[in-house]
């Protein structure tokens, strides 16, 4: 017993030291957008989408492109928003922020009855199939020619390009958006928000 005591003692003495050296997992925290100081990755995160959406809306509002000469709000349809990056992105992360802010601005409203991929909300058309149904009171039935036709279309693309630099990599993103007048087919506003990130090769951008 006396022979093995020093080994046992050493093992017990060093075990807390080794445990302290082991990396501790990041505890779960709630991040507030206003106080978020967490590090950036090479990929896109919610801060990047917020920044791009914010800058885009500011430029749209100050450009005068959304000032309807007939008064009232413009009706905007969401057209194709292409994700041309190496990441799996739901483009609504960008577009929804823009939509909410445009609606709150009072300058425009988004139609959900038509979009690039058909109706965003199919219920608008489905309720019209109930016009002759005897099961439904027709008191609130949607009439013909009530749906608002869009004036403008919002389309865009998110682009990514990767480049190797001296000791790491550089990733350039571009958020490109276009507002098209659906009567004339002319783009009445176009914007591009660039975003570049420089980091080590140890981080990936997909």
């Amino acid at each position: 017993m006396t022979v093995y005591f020093p080994r046992l003692f050493c093992a017990l003495a060093f075990s807390p030291v080794l445990a302290g050296c082991a990396s501790r997992p990041q505890p779960t925290q709630i991040i507030s957008a206003r106080t978020d100081q967490s590090g950036y990755g090479m990929g896109l995160d919610s801060r990047d989408f917020s920044s791009a959406a914010q800058a885009t809306v500011q430029k749209m509002l100050t450009s005068g492109a959304l000032d309807n000469p007939r008064g009232g709000r413009y009706i905007i349809a969401i057209s194709n928003i292409t994700n041309d990056t190496m990441q799996r992105i739901d483009t609504d992360q960008l577009i929804k922020k823009i939509r909410v802010q445009l609606l709150n601005s009072g300058k425009a409203a988004i139609t959900t009855a038509i979009s690039d991929n058909g109706a965003e909300d199919a219920m608008t058309m489905r309720v019209r199939q109930l016009r002759k149904s005897k099961e439904f009171s027709q008191r609130n039935a949607a009439g013909e020619h009530e749906m608002a036709e869009p004036d403008l279309s919002l389309s865009g693309k998110i682009i990514q390009s990767n480049n190797t630099v001296d000791n790491g990599q550089r990733v350039d993103y571009a958020f490109q958006l276009t507002l098209t007048d659906l009567h004339s087919g002319v783009a009445i506003w176009e914007g591009e928000e660039p975003l570049s990130k420089l980091g080590s090769n140890g981080t990936v951008a997909w």
């Binding site: 206003r34 917020s50 920044s51 914010q54 809306v57 005068g64 000032d67 922020k97 909410v100 709150n104």
Partner: protein, 125 residues
């Protein structure tokens, strides 16, 4: 000997007092700058309202240091009654201010009802 030391000490102290006070970070109460942000706000602010009631604010940030600085500009917008008007415009805007240079922090009111604002400039670590 003691008097000599005291005189030297007082002369240093007086020299320290004679140094010009650092310029205030911001003299406009609508803009707050955290002292560790390292940037100065040039005044007066450029504030304008367009024909549709949207208020546009441009804040010129000056970096007196020899290194580039990144700061966040966070705007709060309020209606005439002082109620906050939340929205995308309240998200922090990251602005990189080059060494010994200037950069602008620009914000637009989220709606015509939002006419009052407050902008906070904080460092990015």
């Amino acid at each position: 000997m003691k008097l000599g030391r005291a005189a030297v000490f007082l002369s240093f102290a007086a020299a320290g007092c004679a140094q010009p006070a650092p310029p205030p970070l911001s003299i406009d109460p609508r803009v707050g700058v955290r002292p560790d942000a390292g940037v100065l706000v040039d005044t007066p602010l450029a504030v304008s309202t367009d024909g549709h009631g949207f208020t546009r604010v441009s804040i010129q940030l000056h970096n007196p240091n020899r290194t580039d600085l990144a700061v966040n500009c966070t705007a709060d917008w309020f209606d005439d009654l002082g109620h906050p008007v939340s929205g995308l415009m309240g998200a922090p805007m990251r602005v990189a201010v080059p060494a010994s240079g200037v950069e602008f922090c620009e914000t637009v009111s989220p709606s015509p009802a939002a006419r009052r604002f407050r902008v906070m400039v904080t460092p990015v670590f």
